[in-house]
Every structure is written in structure tokens, then in C-alpha cells.
Amino acid sequence: MPWPLYLALKQLFPTGRRFPFFTFMSGLGVAVGVALLHVATSIMGGFGHEIRRMIVDTQGEIQVVSRANIQNPAEIMAQVRAIEGVAGVTPVVRGVVMVMHRNVPAYPMIQGVDLATVGEVFHLQRYLVRGSLDDLDDDSVILSTKLAIELGASVGSQLEVYTPLIIDRMGRDEVLLPRVVRVAGLLQIGHDQLDRSTIITTLRTMQELYGSGDSVQALNVRLAPGVDEFEMVRKINPVLPWEMRAQTWFETNADFQSIVKFEKYMVFFLLTFIVIVAALSIMSSLLISVVRKTREIGLVGALGARGLHVAVCFCTQGFVLGLVGTGLGLALGQAVLHFRADIVRVVAGLTVGEDVFQQFYQFVDLPSHTLASDVVIIAIGSVLASTLAGVLPAWRAARLKPVEALRHE
């Protein structure tokens, strides 16, 4: 081993010392910074991933949208279904309604599902916590759990549904009575906002409530596993009439996605400063070390060392401290992520309370999704910053003349 590396390692991990306290303390700053970056990006990634999962689970990977309503859904569905790589297609009609249960009103999003095909795309059954999908018919609805709580309704309750069509008819002096429906089941998606404001009914009921005849707003498309969604968009588009267009779930929910991405970059950007501060602390401890070890720097000069070798010795120390700190930090971050549920419970319990926390962050469990590329960027960045932090001390050490160093008191 070249002697500058040997000496650097020995100064960090001295012979006969079981616990290298100085090295540990110098690396600690980097470790904390790296751990925070790792945890924060993983959790932000988890939010993004969870949102993706939720969107894709409920809407499929691809949506066929149209400028106007789709008048001939069966025909288009058949054409799309015939394309290789498409596993299922189901039509969608969405709208807002007012529901009343014993004088308690709510204004949820209502979605009409085609009972014959919805299972191809949206595994409703998986999200049902009460009741059964078999009980859903043209006179019943499925409520999301928190909406049910808000309304004080449960399986078997009767609700009144008011639609914009009532107002439309009122303009023509016609009176349309609200539709009375029965609650057939309760559904929980795991996203707070959706769980507060979703009603599902049959496609036919929805078309009647909105007076939209046989037309639908869009088609949700489920792809076979492993099929690339962007490639499928290119395959589907040619079979569609000119007023229709296929787009990925990402495009359909672009606003949502870009906010999540932006938040992640912001967090990354802000936490990067912690790593920079940690690197500066490595720099200052190495500068102190250069002063403390002045006489030894003189000594190695007397033994025949060149300034460049002395510089390599100190740069190596920055590099190794970065490596040790990054390793510790990733391990610490991994541990925090592993026990995140318990940590959140304790922190939330101590501060605002679990339900407030959940309401704010939309998810029941704190999600985590670690991208290998994020970890690589964090690791390379922090090791690089620490190595650069060693450059100034190394330069100072290399510039010391052996005679002056030897005379140093």
C-alpha cells in the first residue's frame, strides 16, 4: 500500500484503538446528512409510488379521452381490446352529486362503473371493506368509508341523490325527484381525499342521473403485465377516431405527478445543504488535524516524503471519512425506513395526534420507495463533497516546509 494511504488509514483508525472516536465524530455529520437525504427521498418516492399505484389500480395504465362524449363506447372498446397487450377496457362516467342521509348532505365525486367490464381494470372487490360487489345494482351505491362516517350511513342505509340534471329540468319547469339508493358496500382506497369523497354506482344509473344516454366520458385501459405504457399509447391511437386520444395515467394526472416530483426535488435540494455543512465540518476537523500534526508532517518530510504525498494523505482522509459517513448514513437511513411506522406513531402521538397526521399526508401508512439511482446519487455526492473538503487541508499540509514544520512547537 502506498504510504500516504497507509498513514491516512492509520490516522483515522489508530493502531490499538478499539473505537476511532475522532473518525466517528467527523463522519457523524455526513452520516446524519446522508441518512436524512436517504429517508426523505425514499418517503417522497413512496408518496409518488403510492399515488401511481392508486391511480393505476383504479384507472388502469392508459385512458382514452375524447373532446366530446364517446357515443359508441362498445365499438371503440372492442377495437381497443383487440390490440395485443391490452388486458381490459372499461368505460367511465364521472360527475359531482349531492347526497343526503337523514338531512346530512355531502358533495362527493360519483363514478359509474360498468359491472360487466369494471373488473378488467379496477379490482373494486379488493377495496371493499363491507358488503359485496354482487349486491351493487342500478338502485344501489358503494360509499367510501370516511364519506359513510360523515353521512352517518352504513351498509343498508338509504340515501337521496341530487344531480345537476334536477336543476337543468327545473329551468324547464319540470320537477325531477331525487333518486333514492341503498348503500351496498363500503370501500377504502387508502388515500384520504378519495376516501372522503367517492361514490360508486352502476354505469346505467350514472347515465340516468346525468341524462347522458349511452355515451361515456372516457375509457380506462388495463395493460398486460410488463407492457410498456408509452408504446401502447402509440399502438392504440391509430385505431381511434380523430376526436379521441389515448394517454398514459401519468399524462391524465400530470398536475398531481408534477407536484409530487417538485416536492421531492425541493426536499432533495434543501437537504443537500446538510451534506455540504457536514463536508465543511470535515474540512475544519482536517484543518485542525494539519495544525495538530505539523511536526509529523515535518518528520515525514525528513524521511523523504514529497508535499504531493502529504496532500494525498489528507485527501484520502477526507475520502475515507466520506465513505465511512455515507455508509453509516445509509445504514441509519435504512433502519429509520424499516421502523418508520413505529417512529411516525410515536412522533404523531407526541405532537398532533395520528388522525391529524393521516389527514395531512393522505396515507394510512407512511410509504417508502427507494430508487437505486437516488441512493447512488446521494452516495457519490456525499463522498465527493467529503473528498473535496480534504483538498484545502491537503494543500495547506503540502505547502508546509519540513524545516518550518520541524521547528513548530
Binding site: 498513514l7 492509520k10 509529523e296 518528520l299 525528513a302
Partner: protein, 220 residues
């Protein structure tokens, strides 16, 4: 005197002092033959350490020449093999044990091999520290530290040892013992020695005695 292995001619060294320069060395001529020992005495501040640093090539004279083995090339690489140094304050590396400190000189000289390791063991034995090879400097006495430094100075089989008050930090008995060792080892290894000391008795034990006075070296 046999062919000199280290030769200095007309060394002049000045240091700036305010707007003037003080002349510490005013033309020093000096030569040491192979295996020869020379002591240098002089009052404090007369420039003994300055001279030794110039001879070691650690500092450059204002004017004058320095030859190692008849060659004017003074590089760190040559220094590592040509000479060994011993200092008053030992200068051991605190993170390394005694044996690692000795081997550090071999590492820097680019000669860390089985032979160097064997030589380090041998030298530690000869300075009486075979049992202490794995002790850190902090756990060694002053005399023991200086003996480690002697072993380190000799590990690369240098042609000459430059010692700057090697017993300056030691009590009399310990200092005498270290001096015995230094002289014995140099004699056994046929290594030349330049010894800077304040101690008359120690100076008397070298083959030649020089004094540095008013920037000139007087050699009888």
C-alpha cells in the same frame, strides 16, 4: 580522511529580521568521510540546527553547494535512502506502534519488503525494545522513544546519521545510554554520524569535534 560522503562548501544562510537580514551561517565548509563521526557544539541559537537542516537538504542555503556521495542532486527520494535523522523531540507518529514507526521510514523510501521487516525486528532487538515493538509511543518512556527513533533512522541502511541533540530531552543516565547505543550502532553499521550536542562528554566521544561560532565552523 577517506573520500567524503557528505560535503558542504561555503554554505551561507541568512534569515530576514525586520528590514535587515541576520547571517546565521557565513560560509561553512564541512565534510564527513564514510563511517566517520563528527560532533558540532556551539551556543544556543548559533545555527547548529540550521546547518543540520541544510546538510539534510530540508532547507536550501542562500549560496553554497551540497554533495551527497559526491553528487549535487538533493531530492526527497535520495534523502530517504542516503541519510537518517534523529531529533531532540523524537517525532514518532503517535498513531503507529514502535515497529510501525520504524517501518514508516522504509515505506516512504519505497522499500517495505521482507528484508526491511526483518531489519526492523533486528534493530528493535538491538536497541532493547524487542518486547515493546507493539507499544504506542504514548506508552513508551522518553529513552525508549528515542531508541525507536534510532532504529527508524537506521532501517534504510543510510550512509550517514544526522542527530540534533538526541539526548536533549533525557536525564543524564538515560541520555548516556542512548548515546552509547547511537555510537555503537553507527560503528557496527559503519554509518557516519554528525552529532549536534551541548554535552561536552558526548561530543568528546566522536572522532572529530567541531564548534560553530559566529557563523563559521571551526574544526581542529
Amino acid at each position: 580522511m577517506s573520500e567524503p560522503i557528505l560535503q558542504a562548501r561555503a554554505l551561507v544562510k541568512t534569515y530576514p529580521s525586520g528590514d535587515r537580514r541576520i547571517e546565521v551561517l557565513r560560509g561553512v565548509d564541512f565534510a564527513v568521510g564514510a563511517g566517520e563521526s563528527v560532533s558540532i557544539r556551539g551556543e544556543s541559537g548559533c545555527g547548529k540546527s540550521t546547518l543540520l537542516h541544510l546538510l539534510a537538504g530540508l532547507d536550501t542555503p542562500d549560496t553554497g553547494d551540497l554533495l551527497w556521495d559526491g553528487e549535487p542532486r538533493v531530492t526527497p527520494e535520495r534523502r530517504a535512502r542516503f541519510l537518517g535523522m534523529v531529533f531532540q523531540a523524537y517525532y514518532l507518529i503517535p498513531e503507529l506502534d514502535a515497529r510501525q514507526n520504524v517501518l514508516m521510514a522504509a515505506r516512504i523510501a519505497g522499500r517495505l519488503d521482507a528484508a526491511a521487516r526483518a531489519r526492523a525486528e533486528d534493530l528493535l532487538r538491538r536497541v532493547g525494545l524487542a518486547e515493546r515493538a507493539h507499544h504506542l509511543p504514548a506508552h513508551l518512556s522518553g529513552g525508549e522513544r528515542q531508541r525507536v527513533a534510532l532504529a527508524r533512522a537506521l532501517v534504510n541502511r543510510p550512509r550517514i546519521i544526522l542527530a540534533d541533540e538526541p539526548t536533549g530531552n533525557l536525564d543524564e543516565a538515560t541520555g548516556n545510554a542512548v548515546m552509547d547505543l547511537l555510537l555503537d550502532l553507527c560503528a557496527q553499521e559503519q554509518v557516519a554520524l554528525v552529532l549536534v550536542t551541548h554535552n561536552k562528554e558526548h561530543a568528546a566521544r566522536t572522532a572529530r569535534q567541531a564548534t560553530l561560532h559566529l557563523g563559521k565552523l571551526q574544526i581542529p
